[in-house]
Each structure stands twice: as structure tokens, then as C-alpha cells.
């Protein structure tokens, strides 16, 4: 059935999952303020948030099963949106579950953190659905403001305060660029909805209009910051290091998913007639992969290393975006699911191994983990190998990278050069994933190193679910492949002569 977005009722129906989440979050905010901050209270609010997130996920799944699409309007109703929403909600639920058990260990008792996670998730869902520049700006701001606060969650540690300051200042700075880009695009085309922008470009042959070019450039810079692509990535390692572990995981998974979804939608729906953005984006992808991997080699702290690994995966996803075929969106959702599961799992284990109150996760803490907590070590190896894209042991990670490479190689531009860079940089990535596995399995336990605290019930659930899904889907990805195939949005095929203008790196 089609949602006629001009009717408020239909608009509300189309936005049902988002509204459920926002309403629930508001109610929980009230509940959180109701009783003095205490462990039991924050656990209760946390469980409440989980329930809200679960209902929203159920409504997303129902909407996806019901199918249906929307008339041209402010938001989109298609499989891609539901898929991205599912990924975001999965990430949010994982983060809340980990947060419930991590906060007491970090001495944080206030319950608002779970509410903030819910709100951030709602911002991301808005982003996933947005088809209008204004709604996109709103979604980004809802998400960002919530996450600025979340990063500064641990009031008693100067590191998290510094992290939130850095994230806030640079975030606001980048949003400035983004907004200016939106303004220039609005200036050039006079439209704010993506569909009408592309129509305006076609009508006025604005493909090479300088104002539009600068606008798109600024847009890419804004989104580049949000997904931590290399020239704009400087904030990521420090913020991941400063923030509490579950929140860092949430940022790595959720923020990246939402930002990328919007970027794909903008590029393919609004600017499919403009070939010029393919070349710069390709160069950003290449630089991201190379610099991200190289700097990660010299990291001694696991959280900072995972931050750089997040940056590298942004590079890989940019390659999928540059491929710009109908496969691109399916590859994105498929890859994103695998990546989110692995991130949640990895950050969960970092949290468990981390000693109470301490922020960092030095590599030495993992030495000989296999002898004391064998299943934690095995779990961490599965997640790292998933990041590396290793078959069977890394399961879904491999097929994600496989699907990415086949999209790149199959793309009309025949991005063989890009796929070789993907492959060679992932060899460098083995250079920093393996030392962790090596430390856990092959190095003796440092004397006096205490065995990590027993994992809480929820954390164990998160670990088992993520590792299980990665390994099972890693062996039998066909069912997942069909879901992803059905839920991609077919971008307008970029005409070859347009693609040729952006040939550059793509030969």
C-alpha cells in the first residue's frame, strides 16, 4: 500500500517506528528523573529502553514485511530504510545491554545514558528515512547532540570530558560545513527534496554548475567527518579512547550506518546526474584505507586500534559507494550487518577485559587471555577475523568483503584498481589484528595480571548472539543474501557518459 505523505495521518503511519522510539524515550526520560540515581534504577531504566527498542524493531520488521512505498515526500518508505533501521536498532539494543552492566563498573549511576542512546537511535532512524535536506540536517543534529552528551558520560574521568569536548567542537565545526553545503545546493537548485533536486539538475542542466559543485563538496566533507573518513578522521581515535566502551561501540556501528545510508541516498537519488563526485570520493576512499591501516599498525591500545579499524571499514564502504551500481545498497546493508555484529562483540569483550574504572585497553592486558578465559579469547578472535574478512572463522566478515569486491569488480567502471587496494590494505590490517590474537593465544599470562571479571548475563547474551550470527551466517549466507537483495533501493543508473567524466582513478 502507498503512503500519501501529504496526508499527516499517512506521514505518521510511515514514521511509526521512529515515533514509537521517540515517545518511549521521552517516557523513560521522565521515569529516569523520577527516582534518585542508583544501580538498580539505572538497570530498570536500561531494561525499559531495551523494551522500547524491541517494540520499535518489531514495528520495523512488520513494516518491512508489509512492504509498501511512499509518494514523493519528505521521507522514504522502502526496504533499504527498514534494513538500515534494523541494523541501527540492533546496535542500540546491544549498546544498552552492555551499558547496563558496564556502568556500575565505571561508577556511573545516572540512568539518562540509556535514554540518550534511545534518542540517538531515533535520530539515526530519521536519517535513514530522510529524503529531504532539512530532515537530513535535523536527523544529524538529533543524533550528534545525543552522542556529544553520551561521550561525556563518565563525569569522574577527565579523559571522557576531553573526548566529548573534542567531539563537540569538531562535530559542530563539520556541521557548519554540511549546512553551508545544503544552503549552496538549495541556492543552486531551489529545492530541498532529493527527487526534485535531481529533476532541477536535469531541467536546468546544472551538472557542471560551480555553486552546486561546491555544495556537493561541502556535503561530502560534512558526511566525511560523521563517518570518520581520513582527512576528517582525527577526532575518532581520541573520542573512542575517551568514551566508555559500549558508547564507543555504538558510535562505531550506529553512527556509521546512519550517516552512510543518508550519503548513499543523497548521492544516488539527488546527484546521479552529476558525475564529478565519483572521483573525489574514490580518492577519499583510497586515502582512508591506506592511512587508516598504516596508523593502526602502531597502536598499542585495543580501543584506539578498533577506532582505526572503524576508519578502515569506512574506506571499504566508500569503495562500495563509489561502485554506484544497484548492488551498492545491498552490499552496504550486508556489510553493515556483519560489521555491526563484530563491533558490538569486540567492544563487549574490551569492556569485560578492561579493569574497573580504567579507560584504556592496553594490549598487555590480553597476554595469555586464552589460558585464563579461553572462550573470551576465541570470541575476540572471531570478531577480529570478521573485521579482517577471513572466511569461516571470520564468517560474515568474509562474505561482506566478498560482496563488496564483487560489486566493485562488476561495476561498469571496473574498479579493479580499487579492489586490489582493498585487498592489499586488508593484508596490512592483518598486521594489527593478528598481534592481538597472538597476544591472547601465544604469549604467557603476565604474573599478577588478574583474570577479567565474570561476564554479566546481558553481555554474555550480546556475545553469543553476535558471535553466533557471524559464524552461522558466515557458513550459510544465502538467506541473508536474499534479504539484502530484496531490501536494496535501486539507484538511478548513472549514465555512462556521466560516469566517464569522473573516470580518473576508475580505469
Amino acid at each position: 500500500m502507498t503512503y500519501d505523505l501529504s496526508q499527516p495521518a499517512a506521514l505518521m503511519a510511515a514514521l511509526l517506528p521512529d515515533l514509537l522510539l521517540m515517545g518511549g524515550a521521552m517516557a523513560l526520560a521522565l521515569l529516569a528523573a523520577w527516582r534518585p540515581a542508583s544501580d538498580a534504577h539505572q538497570r530498570l531504566v536500561g531494561q525499559g529502553t531495551l523494551v522500547v527498542l524491541a517494540t520499535s524493531l518489531v514495528s520495523v520488521i512488520l513494516a518491512a514485511l508489509r512492504g509498501g512505498e511512499a509518494t514523493a515526500g519528505v521521507i522514504a518508505v522502502d526496504g533499504f530504510r527498514w534494513a538500515v533501521d534494523a541494523v541501527i536498532l540492533l546496535a542500540a539494543m546491544g549498546t544498552v545491554a552492555l551499558n547496563i552492566e558496564q556502568q556500575p563498573r565505571d561508577g556511573i549511576r545516572h540512568a539518562e545514558s540509556h535514554v540518550l542512546v534511545g534518542l540517538a537511535a531515533s535520530g539515526m532512524m530519521v536519517l535513514a528515512a530522510a529524503r529531504d535536506l532539512m530532515v537530513i540536517f535535523l536527523g544529524i543534529e538529533i543524533m550528534s547532540v545525543a552522542i556529544y552528551a553520551l561521550v561525556g558520560l563518565n563525569r569522574r574521568s577527565a579523559r571522557s570530558a576531553e573526548a566529548s569536548l573534542k567531539y563537540f567542537l569538531l562535530g559542530a565545526f563539520a556541521t557548519g560545513f554540511l549546512l553551508y553545503g545544503i544552503a549552496l545546493i538549495y541556492g543552486a537548485t531551489g529545492q530541498t527534496q532529493l527527487g526534485s533536486i535531481s529533476a532541477a539538475i536535469a531541467r536546468h542542466a546544472l551538472a557542471l554548475d560551480p555553486m552546486l559543485m561546491v555544495g556537493i563538496g561541502l556535503l561530502i566533507i560534512g558526511f566525511g567527518f560523521k563517518v570518520a573518513a581520513v582527512p576528517f578522521h582525527m577526532w575518532a581515535p581520541d573520542v573512542y579512547d575517551g568514551a566508555t566502551t559500549p558508547i564507543a561501540g555504538f558510535m562505531a556501528a550506529g553512527v556509521k550506518a546512519a550517516a552512510f545510508a543518508t550519503l548513499l541516498r543523497i548521492l544516488y537519488e539527488a546527484f546521479y546526474l552529476v558525475g564529478l563526485w565519483i572521483e573525489p570520493l574514490a580518492w577519499v576512499a583510497v586515502v582512508t584505507m591506506i592511512v587508516g591501516n598504516l596508523v593502526a599498525l602502531s597502536q598499542r591500545d585495543i580501543k584506539r586500534m578498533l577506532a582505526y579499524s572503524g576508519i578502515v571499514h569506512t574506506g571499504y564502504l566508500l569503495v562500495a559507494a563509489v561502485a554506484a551500481t544497484d548492488l551498492a545498497s545491498t552490499v552496504f546493508t550486508f556489510y553493515m550487518l556483519g560489521y555491526t555484529l563484530a563491533t558490538l562483540g569486540a567492544f563487549a569483550i574490551v569492556g569485560v577485559v578492561q579493569r574497573d574504572g580504567e579507560g584504556g585497553a592496553p594490549l598487555a592486558a590480553y597476554a595469555g587471555l586464552w589460558s585464563t578465559r579461553p572462550w573470551l579469547a576465541v570470541g575476540m578472535s572471531v570478531f577480529l577475523l570478521a573485521f579482517l574478512g577471513f572466511p569461516v572463522f571470520g564468517g560474515l566478515g568474509f562474505f561482506g568483503k566478498w560482496y563488496l569486491l564483487s560489486a566493485a569488480i562488476d561495476a561498469p567502471g571496473r574498479l579493479v584498481v580499487l579492489s586490489i587496494i582493498v585487498v592489499l590494505t586488508s593484508v596490512i590490517s592483518a598486521g594489527y589484528y593478528l598481534p592481538v590474537i597472538r597476544a591472547m593465544f601465544m604469549e604467557p599470562r603476565a604474573e599478577g595480571a588478574t583474570s577479567p571479571a565474570p561476564t554479566g548475563a546481558l553481555t554474555r547474551v550480546v556475545l553469543i548472539v553476535s558471535a553466533g550470527l557471524i559464524l552461522v551466517c558466515g557458513l550459510l549466507p544465502s538467506s541473508l543474501a536474499t534479504i539484502a537483495l530484496r531490501n536494496g533501493f535501486a539507484p538511478h543508473a548513472i549514465p555512462d557518459e556521466v560516469r566517464a567524466t569522473g573516470a580518473g582513478l576508475l580505469r
Binding site: A161, E162, A172, F173, G176, Y180, Y186, D238, G242, Q299
Partner: protein, 97 residues
């Protein structure tokens, strides 16, 4: 008239960016970012004269969002001040490497 106002907003925007790059105080940095946002508002208003009211609606949105952002931002700056007794950005480099 449009070109001049767009040029003015571009100049204001650049001033804001330069401000962010050169100044060392957190609050001043934040004010420069606000300056950049207002520069964009200016260009929106100028453009809405050409394309109708959507530009001005956008300005309203931007202002409300800037306000929310300011609230959270200043809270963060206060928190950092409570920890480090300074907002001079060069001293705030615990997280590096």
C-alpha cells in the same frame, strides 16, 4: 542584491573557519562555529527571497538546533573546566598517539 549577500555570508563563513583554526580558547572556538552557522542563515534568508519561504523555515530549524547544541556544548565545556581548571585547548591533550 543576492550575490552581495551570498558573498557576505561566504566572508562571514570564512571568518568563522579562520577563527576556529587560530583561537585557542574553547568558548571562543564555539562562538566562531556559531558565527559560521549564522553566516549560513544569512545565505538561506537571501536565497529564500529567490525561491520562496522554505529557506526561512530552514533558518528557524537551524536556530533551534544551534540553541540545543549550545546548551549541550557549554555543559561539556563546564565539565572540562571542572576537571582541568582551564579551557585553553593546548593544555587539553590527554588523549593522543
Amino acid at each position: 542584491m543576492l550575490a552581495e549577500s551570498l558573498a557576505l555570508s561566504a566572508v562571514l563563513f570564512t571568518i568563522g573557519v579562520v577563527g576556529v583554526l587560530t583561537r585557542r580558547n574553547a568558548i571562543i572556538l564555539f562562538m566562531c562555529v556559531e558565527l559560521m552557522l549564522n553566516a549560513v542563515n544569512l545565505s538561506f534568508v537571501a536565497l529564500s527571497k529567490l525561491y520562496g519561504a522554505t529557506g526561512q523555515v530552514f533558518v528557524i530549524f537551524v536556530m533551534t538546533v544551534a540553541a540545543a547544541e549550545a546548551a549541550v556544548g557549554l555543559a561539556i565545556i563546564i565539565a572540562i573546566f571542572r576537571h582541568r581548571q582551564t579551557v585553553h585547548l593546548d593544555d587539553i591533550n590527554l588523549l593522543k598517539g
